[in-house]
Symmetry: C2
């Protein structure tokens, strides 16, 4: 029912479960997403068991959707299946490297987005949890992901129990470049961010956080350098653990 | 017109150009894709100039779509715009690190897929070029991407001049796991790949390449360890060059 241009992230769900054949059909249709060499370098773990959802919750900073949503989908970059297939067919797989991770991550994310679009067309609500790559090691352990499998996106899914306002977007000229990239002048930046900065909710957000500018809420509170540097290291460690880098 | 379940990659296009307001509308609708903290960590370079398309072609292994398609879209992970905004607003950006690249790459790929879905619904054909991450340094140079901008997906777009058969997919149980990941047994692998291996076109593909198994075509011809290891290094170098890793 919901088209891409009308979508919003849904964080509150009705308790109604999602029929298994509906979920299967949506995943099957999403499998039409193009992938590298038609290898389908992804897997999806559909978690409905309340015990496992409760285990996953802290890895997602206890966002309430993880335990409240009827289904938690963890989309993974997966070179395990293909590599096992190669080994069983007298072929030597060479996918324990960084480029292969990037390829599989791409396959998995394009598949994830098509699943969401199809689910929303069907009247379901989804929320994308960016936390997946913040604490990947916990997710890997809880979902028992073997080597060459890495979680790249988590989606909570359910029938919507809210219909929030759509949030703001930058103007198209803020993201579109013609022929080549034209770097932003100070004037461009002012004009691109003017609308976002003018919104009452964002002004409130600045005040609540005792900051002078909206950008400072991002750099000092929400996405700090310190956290990013720390999580870059744990992400690299997790890639090493899963065999994607040396 | 085309739904996700009916889609196929289109590599031959009519010469009809894509009206600029159609392209703009599709990109604007795709901007409804969720992104990290609503930061929209992506940019898209729309290349129509034949000269620049011709420069891009070798970076995409001279796949003919690059010069033949009316528009080549290069979707980029972009922390440049946000970082410039922060600097102009007395905020210190901390996005010159690997996790930030992963976050921006995720934003860019989800946006890319929604653009494709919308374009296909509108009767356009798209083809995803996996080559983007093979020779990123050339693309960065040609499209003049500044630091903290990295190309992650290239899509050729145009009105279809072919309607190929859909290609095969693995069975759903080959990619879906319940609650936790259940690793594949040798029997599972046989059963998941049975259909793919049974197809005449794939048998022909094995014979043409003088191989014994389809998997060997992947490991020995199409996606070799040697190439993957080499391209992993150039990808890392490009990430360093763009300021995403030290």
């Amino acid at each position: 029912m919901t088209k891409i241009k009308d979508r919003r992230s849904i964080r509150k769900y009705q308790s109604t479960p999602i029929p298994e054949d509906l979920l299967n059909r949506l995943l099957e249709e999403a499998m039409r997403t193009p992938t590298m060499g038609n290898m389908q370098l992804y897997s999806v773990v559909a978690t409905t068991d309340p015990k496992i959802k409760a285990e996953l919750a802290p890895a997602h900073f206890n966002q309430p959707m993880v335990t409240a949503a009827p289904v938690v989908l963890t989309f993974c970059a997966d070179f395990n299946r293909v590599s096992k297939w190669c080994e069983q067919r007298d072929a030597e797989p060479g996918y324990d490297n960084f480029l292969s991770f990037i390829n599989a991550m791409s396959d998995a994310l394009l598949f994830t987005q098509n699943f969401c679009t199809l689910a929303e067309e069907e009247g379901l609500g989804t929320c994308y949890l960016g936390t997946t790559v913040y604490m990947p090691k916990d997710i890997i352990r809880i979902l028992r992901l073997p080597k060459l499998v890495f979680p790249v996106a988590t989606i909570t899914v359910g029938y919507p129990d809210e219909w929030p306002e759509q949030n703001d977007r930058l103007p198209l000229n803020g993201i579109l470049h013609h022929d080549v990239y034209t770097d932003y002048s100070p004037y461009d930046i002012d004009s691109i961010y003017e609308y976002k900065e003018s919104l009452d909710e964002n002004k409130r957000f600045v005040a609540e956080n005792n900051k002078q500018t909206l950008a400072q809420v991002f750099t000092d509170v929400r996405y700090t350098k310190r956290d990013n540097v720390f999580m870059s290291e744990t992400m690299m460690e997790a890639l090493r653990m899963q065999g994607f880098i040396l």
